[in-house]
């Protein structure tokens, strides 16, 4: 019970900190610039290079990683804007990509706010989940809009290969996105932890040993 209360308070405190830094200007600019560049590179270059018969789609990865680094609000906003930009540039049905990417960005942001995952492979799983969610979400919206394309093995194969290919580029792309945004992040968990341990603070293990003595 106490652990649950402690976790809840930590999460609330973290959320409050994130809320107090309501979309810092430098971060917004960096995310906006990164989004525009990635969308243009995606549709000018990456889309035209087929890998195993499908194109790598960096846009859901971008949205998920922005959410994972900056929180749910920024994730949702960037998802909406990236989706709108793609729909406008490619003359697709307006709102479809925005809707799907808003949810993907929000979900990634909530993952960070609630769990704060620190494992090195987290971006890989988040990238895979984002690519899957985008593909499935897109398919559902298209079905609802009446596109005559029932589920077939070939369609599923394309979606699965697309997700695998996106997952394969998730880690290097995460490194790129993180490098671009890390200077403007209000509270970088790794930096915070490193600072705590290297400026005289004790790790939880050392602290418990000292208490035992």
């Amino acid at each position: 019970m106490s652990a649950r209360v402690g976790y809840s308070q930590r999460a609330r405190s973290g959320a409050a900190q994130a809320g107090s830094a309501w979309l810092p200007g430098s971060l917004v600019w960096r995310v906006a610039l990164l989004s525009v560049v990635v969308v243009f590179v995606q549709i000018s270059v990456v889309s035209e290079v087929p890998v195993f018969g499908v194109s790598i789609d960096l846009s859901p990865l971008l949205v998920a990683f922005v959410g994972l680094l900056c929180g749910s609000t920024m994730g949702a906003v960037s998802g909406f804007c990236v989706g709108l930009l793609i729909d406008l540039a490619l003359m697709q049905t307006l709102g479809v990509t925005s809707l799907v990417f808003t949810i993907v960005g929000y979900w990634a942001g909530r993952l960070r706010e609630l769990r704060d995952p620190q494992a090195a492979l987290t971006p890989l799983f988040v990238g895979a989940a984002a690519a899957t969610a985008a593909a499935v979400g897109y398919s559902i919206v298209e079905f609802l809009l009446g596109v005559d394309a029932p589920v077939s093995l070939e369609l599923l194969r394309e979606i699965v290969i697309g997700v695998l290919v996106d997952t394969a580029v998730a880690l290097p792309f995460w490194a790129l996105v993180r490098r671009c945004l890390v200077g403007a992040l209000p509270d970088d968990p790794r930096r915070r932890r490193r600072r705590a341990y290297t400026t005289g603070g004790l790790s939880p293990l050392s602290r418990s040993r000292r208490a035992d003595r």
């Binding site: 994130a18 307006l94 029932p150």
Partner: protein, 349 residues
């Protein structure tokens, strides 16, 4: 706990909680409300956009915004496309090299076969032209009646649901909506949106495109559409079985030069678009699966077949575009009748 705090807050007018925990809780609640409000706003906005766009005509406001956006960003697209071309070529080189070896042997076999066919066809074509002249039937619309405008592909949709590309030539180069687009010698699609310096091309694998075509070996005319649930594949359904000879895998599918419904593109006759890969016979109605001839994933340059005002192509396109939806040559009713006829005769082809 939260509800108690909120009720106390309501009672005291918000002045009761001055301690650290209370202030943190208030900030937390505000953050949560703001976060949920942003999410709800964005989702509702997306749904409004989606509904409005889906319901409006192609000349509607949102479509105009898209066209204006394309007009503004097309020079940027062009620049980005040129600047990033070496990168694309590098990646393309790896992919092409991997594929080249397997394709080489197959293409050599095809070349030998086609060379023999070409020689035979040259003789036949000469005789055919002579006969046409004799019967005064040599006024068919052909690809020579069009002016090809070469354009480079600037954007390609990464989405499997949309088979569209954007090219760097638009209405200022004479490109119009519904103009056929070819790559090499094969049909790849038609123009669906035009702005002064760019145009959107829907590929033949897009659900919005249908082509009236015929199987070159048997002369069977049918409608080629994307195969449902199989991205990148086409399906040709027979409408007019001209001969009893069944198509075989490897037969070429070419444009028939006719239109089957109101407002569609009149593709010039004889442009190859695909090759038969398999023949399906289900419920007495025969269809063939067609694989596009052009590599639609790897388009760099395309040609838009434009025509000048007053030309023969313009006149015929005008006739095709102005066909009355109520009584077209191949209206839905007639197609239904044909379908019934096919069904009653046990399926054509």
């Amino acid at each position: 706990m939260r509800s108690q705090c909120l009720s106390l807050l309501a009672l005291s007018g918000g002045t009761l909680f001055d301690d650290v925990f209370g202030r943190s809780l208030l900030v937390y609640d505000k953050t949560v409300r703001r976060r949920r409000a942003v999410l709800a706003l964005l989702v509702v906005l997306s749904l409004i956009l989606l509904t409005a766009y889906f319901g409006e005509a192609p000349s509607g406001g949102l479509h105009s915004v898209q066209r204006d956006f394309l007009t503004v960003v097309s020079p940027i697209q062009d620049g980005a496309n040129k600047a990033l071309k070496p990168v694309r070529n590098l990646f393309g080189w790896f992919g092409s090299t991997l594929k080249a070896k397997s394709q080489n042997a197959e293409l050599r076999k095809q070349l030998d076969k086609l060379r023999a066919e070409y020689t035979a066809n040259q003789v036949n074509e000469h005789s055919y032209r002579e006969l046409l002249k004799i019967d005064h039937l040599d006024h068919e619309l052909s690809i020579a009646d069009y002016t090809p405008v070469t354009a480079s592909v600037t954007y390609q949709s990464p989405n499997i649901w949309y088979s569209i590309i954007t090219i760097d030539k638009g209405s200022s180069s004479g490109v119009r909506v519904n103009d056929p687009v070819v790559s090499g010698e094969a049909l790849i699609g038609k123009v669906t949106e035009v702005v002064p310096d760019a145009a959107q091309v829907s590929l033949i694998t897009d659900s919005a495109v249908e082509v009236t075509a015929k199987i070159s070996a048997t002369g069977t005319i049918g409608m080629v559409q994307p195969e449902v649930g199989a991205p990148g594949k086409l399906l040709m359904q027979y409408l007019y079985p001209a001969s009893s000879a069944a198509p075989l895998p490897g037969d070429y599918v070419v444009t028939s030069g006719t239109v089957a419904s109101h407002g569609v593109s009149l593709y010039p006759k004889g442009i190859p678009l695909g090759q038969v890969t398999s023949v399906n016979e289900q419920s007495g109605f025969t269809s063939v699966q067609v694989s596009p001839l052009a590599d639609l994933h790897n388009l760099e340059f395309v040609q838009v077949l434009t025509f000048s005002a007053g030309s023969r192509a313009a006149a015929l396109n005008s006739v095709a575009a102005n066909l009355s939806p109520a009584h077209p040559t191949g209206s839905e009713e007639e197609e239904a009748q044909n379908g019934e006829q096919l069904a009653s005769t046990g399926g054509g082809g």
